[in-house]
Amino acid sequence: SAVISQKPSRDICQRGTSLTIQCQVDSQVTMMFWYRQQPGQSLTLIATANQGSEATYESGFVIDKFPISRPNLTFSTLTVSNMSPEDSSIYLCSVAVTAESPQHFGDGTRLSIL
C-alpha cells in the first residue's frame, strides 16, 4: 500500500495562530481525505480534498476555518486557522487509489493549542 508522510507529527501552538499540515503520498492517488480524531475516539471526516478544485466539506466544517489545497495527485495540505483550544486534536490524512478502494492513513498530527 501507499506510504503516507504527514508533517508535522505534533505541534503546540498559540491561540489565534494558524498551522498548515502536509500530507505526501509516494504514489498517485485519486482520493485524499482529512479527518479529526480525539484521543481514544473515532474519526470525524472534515473534507475530501479534490485535485484541481475546491475541497468538499462535511457538515460543521467550513473552508474559512479549514482551507485545503490539493495541487496534484500526491500532495495535500490542511490549514487550521485562527486556532482555539477546541481545535486541539489529532488530524489525519487518508488516501485511496480509487473511490472504491480501502483508505490508508498517515500517522497523524497531534495538535495542542494553548
Partner: protein, 113 residues
C-alpha cells in the same frame, strides 16, 4: 444519529480470553473495513469485506460480513497483550458518496498479561 453502531466501546480482558466486537447498521454497505490503531499512529487496515456472508481470517482474528451487508463482527481468539489498541469499523454506503467512509465509535481493547 450514529449510522454505524460499534460495540462494546471498551473491553478489558485477560490474556488468553476470546472476544467479539460488533458493527451494526440499518443501512446496506458496499464494503466494510476493519482498522486497528495504536497510540501515536494512524489506523492500520486489517481487512476489507465486500460480499454478504463473507468470512476472512487473519491469524487469530476472524472477520465476518453479514448476509444482508448491514453488519459485521471481529472475533479474536486467545487474545494477547499485543492485540491492545483501538479497533475501528468503517463502511461505504451502497450509494457511495464520493468514496467516503462511515466510521463506528471504536472499541478500546486492553489485554492484560
Amino acid at each position: 444519529t450514529q449510522l454505524l453502531k460499534q460495540s462494546p466501546q471498551f473491553l478489558s480482558i485477560q490474556e488468553g480470553e476470546n472476544l467479539t466486537v460488533y458493527c451494526n447498521s440499518s443501512s446496506v454497505f458496499s464494503s466494510l473495513q476493519w482498522y486497528r490503531q495504536e497510540p501515536g499512529e494512524g489506523p492500520v487496515l486489517l481487512v476489507t469485506v465486500v460480499t454478504g456472508g463473507e468470512v476472512k481470517k487473519l491469524k487469530r482474528l476472524t472477520f465476518q460480513f453479514g448476509d444482508a451487508r448491514k453488519d459485521s463482527s471481529l472475533h479474536i481468539t486467545a487474545a494477547q497483550p499485543g492485540d491492545t489498541g483501538l479497533y475501528l469499523c468503517a463502511a461505504r454506503l451502497i450509494y457511495n458518496q464520493g468514496g467516503k467512509l462511515i466510521f463506528g465509535q471504536g472499541t478500546e481493547l486492553s489485554v492484560k498479561p
